[in-house]
Amino acid sequence: MESLSILIGGRAGDGIDQASLLIGKLLNQLGFRIYIYRDYPSLIRGGHTFSIVRAAREKLGAHRQTVDFICALNQDCLDNHRDKIHGRTVVLYDSDVVKGTGLALPLTSMVKAAGGPEIVRNTAMLGGLAKALGLPWEKFEKVARENLKKETEINIQLARKGYNAAETFYKIEEQKKPVLPLVTGNEALALGLASAGLDAYISYPMTPSSTILHFLAQRAEALNMKVIHPESELAVIMMALGFAYAGQKTAVGTSGGGFCLMTEGLSFAGMAELPMVIVLGQRPGPSTGLPTYSSQTELMFALWAGQGEFTRLIVAPGDAEEAYYWGGVALRLAWKYQLPAIILTDKNIAEGTYSFDLKNIKRFPEEQSLFWDGSGEYKRYLATASGISPLAFPGEAGATIKVNSYEHEEDGVTTEDQRITRKMQEKRLRKGVALLKEIDELEAVKVYGKQAARTAVVCWGSTKHLCLEAAEKLEVRVVMPLVLSPLPLTQLKKALQGVAQIIAVEDNATAQLAQLLKGAGIKVDAVILTYDGRPETVEQLEERIARGMK
């Protein structure tokens, strides 16, 4: 795929995040589709942090081996990324603090002379980049003014100095395409949940899910949503269960460590048939692992977390648009079937920035919770054919609504009766059968790449775009399940028809999707695994797939 890649890096605290978003927004205004990858250590100040901004004509969500620009605010940035330089890479660097060759910009002294704070170096660098890209100053100034709301004048003044000090290397052509919003996976997920009717979001901060909490907390009033940050994940999940009982659609967000604490509440949700959505942002473990990096290691955990046997919905979106849609679907289905739904994301999706087109989002399944009609005695756990019991919420006259973590009778009162125990366990599992039927009507498995290819790459979550781009050159089929529990086996088998070889691509060390498929009778022939917290580049994956292909 033809694209432009720009890497910008410096110490944590140098404003790399903001700068890379501004680069993205600048190229976005020219009609390009954007993807931004953020790489930062678990530090507030110091260390080395960088972003890669990619712009192309079509949607994307991965990065390549080399970049066209390196914007180095510190020496590490240049030294760590020499392997990303190709024949025409332009290196822009703050020549006051970095030794290099390329476009030397004395940013530190420029900023000092103007009396600006050190952080403004990043904007001065961007001014230089705009010139190097061959963009007119006015174009840059407009985007910068719209986005730099704090200390705007000093930022613009220094960007102009950077611009004047640089030379032009490229001539970027404006694309005749509509300009799309740039949205992180977490922002998209938050909006998808909101759109599907979320009433409350409850979360204890944990990377990479915290930005959902921040995003929704900031907009809680406008959205008329209750956003709460309680004392722990134990409180989070129990509060969410309380909200569900009282009739409010609720989601919680966390990562593996927080999810560990939530498992008792998850199991309770299964028994009490209380709907809720859990956003599980994966990152490398075990334990604290690498807090700010990415992995796909919680699939097995999500599948089996909690004691006892109960139905759960697990979805795994692969980019911002899918996060929006599947977030909404998860909320709707959790309520319809009165069960917990888990949305598996990972740091790459959660904190990656994507071009987002609302027009690509399909309609969510209709909101169709089954409500009590007010006749007869209300039974919270009425055993129906589908297993779904009519809902009523406290405050409704004539209904006594009892939920229970113990095994219970239809009216919610504790029982240890053998016959009822069997009946209620069957009722709860019956909902899974109905749920799977509904999932089969959605596009729960996507097929990309060369549809007739005899080799299929199977992937899930954020490896989607990496596989799509690698598949272009290799002409393989790409099969991506978006629902992982209950597993849409019929759709999967159809997607894999005529395939002679299956290669699973995953960000974990034990091939968790391959294990899941094996359990369902689909044999995976080869696995390509990464587990260093960083996404692979397209070229690396191309090579590994080519080697694995028979």
Binding site: K25, Q29, V179, L180, P181, L182, V183, E187, L191, A194, S195, G197, D199, A200, I202, R219, E221, A222, L223, N224, K226, I228, P230, E231, S232, L234, A235, M238, M239, A240, L241, G242, F243, Y245, A246, G247, Q248, T250, E264, G265, F268, F356, L358, P394, G395, E396, A397, G398, A399, T400, I401, K402, V403, N404, S405, Y406, H408, G412, V413, T414
Partner: protein
């Protein structure tokens, strides 16, 4: 139908609750707006025995669930039954934070100072040297004074009741329910099977009189009179009551909004 031992203090509490609910209803509270929440333990069975909305929750987690219910629908009166092991042990963080928030809940702690459902182990309020199945030579730790802890945490209503003083208990529970804010009653509930304290309590309890519950320091000194360990007199009644803004009042919900339009506008700003 009830599954408590004959003589268990829980029977008296159940009866008191039946009366309290009937009185509230007679005074105009709609029963459908009441939710009972329980933890896990002998105390928790009470929700099965009352035909009222209920949320039979997990060990230690009743208070957090109750907070969710109250925040979701501030109209509801949420009454939480918990045990001492349940809420002063496993669920202590939630209790402290609920008090800190002054969320409008009523928490009734069935404090029998023993784990009864799991057959007689020590709890956070068992006295030093308590011999239970997990501490056969006696505990080596002092009990917690829960009222002192909750006062420091920010509770705005604190009282102690006793299941053998049902008239007083009824008054306290009703008052706590009507108190707008976080109310906790440490209820001396006797477990006849594993830790029968009737004689001990009967000899020492007295009713608080001439006490000013609005005075923090006076409340503190009365609360510290008996530390759940010494052989002091045991005060029953209301130690503390003040009014302070409640957490739930900040979440009463606004007007409905057109989410679809709002999301479109938000996205337009993200270009």
């Amino acid at each position: 139908m009830t599954q408590w031992c004959p003589g268990c203090g829980n029977f008296a509490i159940l009866k008191v609750m039946q009366e309290v609910l009937a009185e509230l209803q007679a005074e105009g509270t709609l029963l459908e707006n009441i939710v009972l929440v329980s933890g896990i333990g002998q105390h928790a069975k009470i929700v099965d025995y009352l035909k009222v909305n209920s949320f039979y929750s997990l060990h230690g987690r009743a208070v957090a669930a109750a907070e969710g219910i109250k925040l979701a629908n501030p109209k509801l009166k949420v009454i939480v039954f918990v045990g001492d092991g349940d809420s002063y042990g496993e669920g202590l963080e939630h209790l402290i934070f609920a008090a800190k928030r002054n969320i409008d809940l009523t928490v009734v702690v069935h404090d029998n100072r023993v784990y009864a459902l799991t057959t007689g182990q020590y709890t956070p309020t068992s006295p030093l040297g308590y011999k239970g199945r997990s501490t056969p030579t006696g505990t080596h730790e002092h009990p917690l004074n829960p009222l002192e802890l909750l006062l420091a945490a920010g509770a705005t209503y604190l009282a102690r009741g006793y299941n053998a003083r049902t008239e007083q208990l009824k008054g306290l529970i009703k008052e706590a329910i009507l108190h707008p804010g976080f109310a906790l009653i440490d209820l001396l509930q006797v477990c006849v099977t594993f830790y029968n304290q009737y004689d001990h309590y009967n000899q020492r309890v007295y009713e608080l009189t001439g006490h000013n519950p609005a005075d923090y320091n006076e409340a503190l000194s009365k609360i510290k009179e008996w530390d759940y360990n010494s052989d002091a007199k045991i005060a029953l009644g209301k130690f503390y009551q003040v009014e302070r803004s409640t957490f739930d009042s900040f979440f009463s919900g606004g007007d409905t909004v057109d989410r679809g339009q709002l999301i479109k506008t938000l996205l337009e700003r993200m270009v």
